[in-house]
Amino acid sequence: MNLNWRAMLVPSFVVSLLLMVASQYLFIKSSFYKNVGFGIVDKTFGFQNYKNLFLDSFYIDAIIETFMVSGLATVFTILMAYPVAYAIARMKPNRAMILLATIVVSTFITIVIKVFGLIIIFSADGWLNKILIFLGIISEPFTVIGNISGVIVGLIHFCLGFAVLLIYSVVQTIPKSYEEAAQIHGASRINVFLKVIIPITMPGIIIGAITIFNMCMGAFTSAALLGGGRVLTLPVLIQRAVIMEVNYPMAATLAALLLAFVMGINLLSIALLKRFRMTKAIVT
């Protein structure tokens, strides 16, 4: 073909690069400025924001909390999504479509609406809490506002649909014959699952988990609405720094830190993944 594919790429590459470099450069630079107050910024270069941040246990706690909440939400999301993705990949197409449509519709609706629903479901005098208390499963009503478990439930709602679609794309690439081969050779279903399906899909699961983790680290809605000011994750603190304190350098510092953490974790997992693939290549 004599169409020039390279030339096609140039305009979008220029736009992407320009937007990324300009936006990231400016905000990272402003994280080294000093906040004078009332939105005024002193443009002398310095590390004082980072120093303040790392010396304040309030921010250290927020960082730990962000990691914990995102990590737990990622684990639960993957655990919930995996069987569903597997079922969609192995189901008859028309049944799979029903599941898929439900998941897409639910993902399509903004998380803010889902958070309303969650608050109603878990309201202290709601029917769910009444039933659970009646059955003796819990002694006090379980609410989702103002605690970490609520934020995690919210984050799971935010990511679940994407997780199913991501994992599906991995599971669907394993031919069913692998499973059948293992079964013919006498492996039980559980063994097939644990020793064939899970190991083959592991790299895909890790990539999916990274994506979900990234989404959780940047997600702010569930933490802001369900945290009720008591669960302070980095995204919530960034928004507060901008809207309430009008402290742009601090917001930029927190954002730069969040970016550094997410990038670091991504690079680490990619390195791990490469090693994982290499050991697998040696074994086989």
């Binding site: 073909m1 169409l3 594919w5 390279r6 096609m8 790429l9 979008s12 590459f13 992407s16 937007l19 990324m20 402003s30 069987p83 569903v84 597997y86 079922a87 969609i88 479509m97 599941l99 898929l100 998941i103 519709v105 639910s106 399509f108 609706i109 903004t110 998380i111 803010v112 609406i113 958070v115 309303f116 629903g117 608050i119 109603i120 029917w127 709602h157 679940l160 679609l165 599906y168 794309s169 279903r189 999916g208 990274i210 994506t211 989404m215 940047g218 997600a219 702010f220 809605t221 802001a224 609405l225 980095l234 995204p235 901008v242 930029a252 954002a255 969040l258 970016l259 997410v262 990038m263």
Partner: protein, 303 residues
């Protein structure tokens, strides 16, 4: 005649007993545990996903007079909250739809040529270029919001044109966030592409441009639709980016709801949310009729 019938009957019975034995064997060997378990799990996940939506729609019909009291199941069914939906909600909703549609369109215009170039261009440093294209996926949404807000202020200080709080500012932020999804899905389809089809068209005398328009584009369309759908979903539901790029007089629907919920909760929010839920269902039905939702499955390779 009758003996054959008898033989048929016997064979049928034998067949029947074999099937029953088969089932019994299945039950004894616990082979049903797995499909049953998976079915129960899927049903549980579906209930988990849909419950908040069902409850929101249900509670919106509550007829009680008290403000800030949300009840599910609703008592005294009424449509009172639907009559009280503020006009700002409708405005924000139409803004969100328009913004999401334009985001999807521009993301496709940027993303599809990028994917074609990445897969076909035989580029030096392809890994690096691809990493740069996908970088926005790794930048937390909240950071994208803050970064673009500061960029727009800086540009405004230089040129006098402030994009914060304008439609264009929002659009740039959303497109930046959504384009990698289109690149991902289109690349996934392109990599599975059968180049013989194009060659066949060329051999039969079609010009390269004609091959591109009549063969290549239609074949990669599922990936483009899927990417566009992702872009639309991202934009339509986004809070963390829009949060920093809207102004109080110019709000997208999720942000309008967010503030409504944070400040003065009013059950009419439930009513307008229910309308959006219904709209989303209808939208998905239309997508399913026109392109089919399975494009999401066929070209899902966001990473």
């Amino acid at each position: 005649m009758s003996s054959r019938k008898l033989a048929d009957g016997r064979a049928e019975m034998k067949n029947g007993t074999r099937m029953i034995r088969h089932w019994l064997g299945d039950i004894a060997s616990l082979r049903w545990v797995e499909p049953a378990g998976v079915a129960v799990w899927c049903a549980g996940v579906l209930v988990f996903m849909l419950a908040p939506l069902v409850v929101t729609v249900g509670a919106s019909f509550h007829g009680g007079s008290e403000y800030a009291v949300v009840v599910f199941p609703p008592e005294n069914l009424s449509l009172q909250w639907y009559e009280r939906i503020p006009g700002a909600h409708y405005q924000a909703f139409f803004l969100s739809i328009f913004l999401a549609a334009l985001t999807a369109l521009i993301s496709c215009l940027l993303g599809v040529p990028a994917a074609l170039g990445l897969v076909r261009g035989n580029l030096p440093g392809k890994q690096v270029i691809s990493a740069i294209f996908r970088a926005p996926l790794q930048i937390p949404a909240v950071v994208i919001g803050v970064a673009f807000m500061q960029l727009f202020y800086a540009v405004g200080n230089q040129t006098g044109w402030y994009a914060v709080g304008t439609f264009w500012g929002l659009l740039i932020g959303h497109v930046f966030h959504a384009t990698p999804y289109v690149i991902g899905t289109t690349t996934a389809v392109l990599q599975r592409f059968n180049a013989n089809l194009e060659e066949a068209a060329l051999i039969h005398g079609a010009s390269p441009m004609r091959v591109f328009v009549r063969v290549t584009l239609p074949l990669i369309m599922p990936g483009v639709y899927a990417g566009g759908l992702y872009a639309f979903m991202m934009s339509f539901g986004d809070v963390p980016i829009s949060m920093f790029l809207t102004s109080s007089s110019f709000l997208t629907y999720p942000i309008e709801l967010f503030f409504g919920m944070e400040n003065d909760f009013d059950p009419s929010i439930l009513a307008s949310s229910s309308l959006v839920i219904v709209f989303s269902l209808l939208f998905m039905l239309v997508v399913q009729k026109i392109v089919g939702l399975d494009v999401l499955l066929k070209s899902n390779n966001v990473n």
